[in-house]
Symmetry: C2
Subunit: 448 residues, 2 copies
């Protein structure tokens, strides 16, 4: 068996691992990436992107149904879900090809197999049958092995009736009915998509509202839209799984657990909590030449923070830099219909003397023209210094608008400039909500 | 004749006049607004909004045509342009009603008629027949009378063959062919819309490129997209009007001229250039109790700067404040298909040691999934301090993304934070283009 030597070996090719590998080469390192499944990890293959494809298809279906609002006459044939799935699979395959092209252009060696530690510098790669096929020496190792859907005790995923989010994305047809267990971001997205394509969905959450960590007005708006779409929403529901006979499918989306089956103990790597890897602000584990980035580090389980951590780990590992991650301003998006997004200063819950402004999209002329009048922008402002502290946006384009909001929050400014926001745009509503906090919005009728 | 007395009288109810009136009441003033035509001015009635309605209809038409990319089978009946126009008119009427509701809620008196000065505190309102119907005393007057389409010498608008942008929006059907004279924002938007709905359009510009003040790569991309759509684009074209027999319609869009027919000399108000009103940074004319805001002040002829000026003029007029307008960061959007947008620091042309980054939307996974792969983001960065100096975005959603870009420019920062931009979003491409300026983009193949 050859012993290949690398400056950096990355375990996993999702957003975190991919960013690590490319950046490490940009900085001059010789790099390999070990991937046990598809290039792109959860985000590309069974997370962000396939769900966005289906969500986007649903969006278009709904827009076509409402195209009479522009004076169009359109006849749609019944939608064949397997046709959409085939297109989805082709799109994802193309995106995978794109990632492979980038890795090749940077001469990253892609090693297909299952990684485990021999010691803190040596990794064993085995095939799916468990046979060791390769051993690799790495000066530094970056673990980006990700997470998998959490299992609910007594309800193991068997891929037929009891399914996880990955299974759901590969169903060949829309089930007649489905119980979705878990009212967080993934549960809401799945309920929205499947219900939108004709499945009778029951969504069960054991907290007393959907998105329990979100602003209550947002959570209520999302719930209202799900109900309007035909979803049966059950909150404070502890017994959803007591009677699953009546459901064709039971989709359990109650969180994600770390893929830590890497024989970490052989390298002396410490885990915390549910088995996530302990890392410092430099993305370094307790073993100084080993870094952990993305989901496996358990910091925020988001693709964009993962990419950021990957690039930073590469800088620190290759250049001996000490760049810290900064998770103080992180936007969040839920793909309900319309989307629901939020961003806050990190110490928001400790802020005192907060005033609020709100602007409904019914009062935004662009939303009116674009027939996307649902939802609102809500803004929290520090009364004393007039700085915006948080934005919540439920509405079309909020997944793009929230980046504008993040930049406002990050800028630490005490006004939003009217002349810097294009008219007519949805983005204006951020300005309007901010102005409303001071009762100075000119695009709303006077409050009585 | 009664002599009504007001703290503030506003001439014109477009974005500038409307914002002035509402803000003035919010600050405690008794306010009237004089409007000689429809509430909402050019923006609502024959500018931003009706064009956006038609553009949005075209966008939906194109999305429906490409819906097979999601596996849909859709049959559209031929589009009847007059049906779209009817919907447009109803939408605009509804938005007008909304503006009227807001003005009423603030007890702004809406006076219908043509305003002219008697002296610096007294205005005469006459009806369309030229008879004086009212005289008003105002402590302070804010002129927001707007602009009208510029006339080309020898080609007066007669509303039949030689038409302006207002006429174009009220055509009852799509002409077989049309010459559009003027390759600026309005000409490009009109060419895009009419060509999109089946008119054979020739677009003539006498400079050597479209959008002559814009980045050349952007101008070329816009031109390429127009040609792809079937528009015949003529640049360096001085003789377009020599042979207009072959065109059913000739649309002249070569700029706008001030509506200054207000007997300004009776109040001693100075004009500059082509007849715009001279104002200082506080939106004040040379006559201290008279302000001018929006198009008539000739600063930027944009609805959002107009709203800003209106609100500032109200603060200064009512509260004796000295708030200055700040036009240092103003986004610009052209409704080509896809949209083209830009924003720069105000001294951009003087910047030295500028480096550039570029990111194509073909490499953005959300654009890939959303089937909006056309265009790019280009970013200019100060090499020495790493501050972003300008963004140009040609692509879907760029009219929203440009507000994020404006905020980045306004923030005067020396990095864009990966973790603060949601994935998957179009907005990420701003981050990617910025990183590319340093050859550090991880989402592009290595340059050879």
């Amino acid at each position: 068996m050859d012993l290949d030597k690398y400056d950096i070996v990355v375990i996993g090719s999702g957003p975190a691992g991919f960013a690590t590998a490319v950046r490490a080469v940009q900085l001059g390192a010789k790099v390999a990436i070990i991937e046990k499944s598809f290039i792109g990890g959860t985000c590309l293959n069974c997370g962000c992107l396939p769900t966005k494809f289906l969500w986007q298809a649903l969006k278009l279906k709904q827009r076509i149904q409402k195209s009479y609002e522009y004076g169009f006459k359109v006849n749609s044939e019944p939608i064949i879900f397997s046709d959409i799935l085939a297109k989805k699979d082709r799109n994802i395959a193309n995106l995978r090809k794109g990632m492979r092209t980038i890795l090749s252009s940077y001469n990253v060696d892609i090693i297909e197999g299952v990684a485990s530690f021999r010691d803190k510098n040596n990794l064993i790669v085995s095939n799916n049958e468990g046979n060791n096929i390769l051993e690799i020496f790495a000066n530094k190792i970056v673990i980006a092995s990700g997470t998998s859907p959490s299992v609910m005790k007594g309800f193991a995923f068997e891929g037929n009736k009891i399914i996880n989010s990955t299974d759901a994305l590969n169903l060949k047809e829309i089930p007649k009915n489905m119980l979705v267990v878990g009212g967080g971001a993934i549960g809401i997205e799945m309920a929205t998509i499947f219900s939108g394509f004709g499945c009778y969905v029951t969504l069960a959450e054991n907290e007393n509202c959907l998105l329990p960590n979100e602003d209550r007005e947002v959570s209520e708006e999302v719930k209202r839209n799900l109900i309007k779409q035909g979803v049966d929403v059950l909150v404070s529901c502890f017994d959803a799984l007591n009677n699953i006979d009546k459901y064709e499918k039971v989709l359990i989306v109650i969180g994600r657990m770390p893929n830590n089956d890497l024989k970490l103990e052989r390298a002396g790597i410490k885990t915390i909590g549910k088995g996530f890897l302990e890392t410092n602000e430099f993305c370094q584990t307790n073993v100084s030449n080993i870094y952990a980035v993305g989901d496996i580090a358990g910091k925020s389980l988001l693709a964009y923070t993962a990419q950021n951590e990957g690039a930073i780990a590469a800088e620190n590992a290759v250049k001996m830099n000490s760049i810290s991650i900064d998770n103080s301003v992180i936007p969040q998006v839920v793909f309900s219909m319309p989307q629901s997004s939020s961003v806050k200063v990190s110490n928001f819950l400790k802020c005192r003397d907060v005033i609020y402004g709100k602007f409904p999209f019914t009062a935004n002329s662009r939303a009116f023209i674009e027939k996307e009048r649902s939802g609102f922008v809500k803004c929290a402002v520090d009364k004393a210094n007039k700085k915006p502290l948080a934005f919540w946006i439920v509405g079309a384009h909020s997944d793009e608008l929230i980046n504008f909001a993040s930049q406002i929050i990050k800028s630490d400014i005490n006004k939003i400039s009217r002349e810097s926001v294009f008219h007519p745009s949805f983005s204006e509503s951020l300005f309007n909500a901010y102005e409303d906090a001071f009762d100075k919005c000119v695009d709303l009728a006077k409050k009585i």
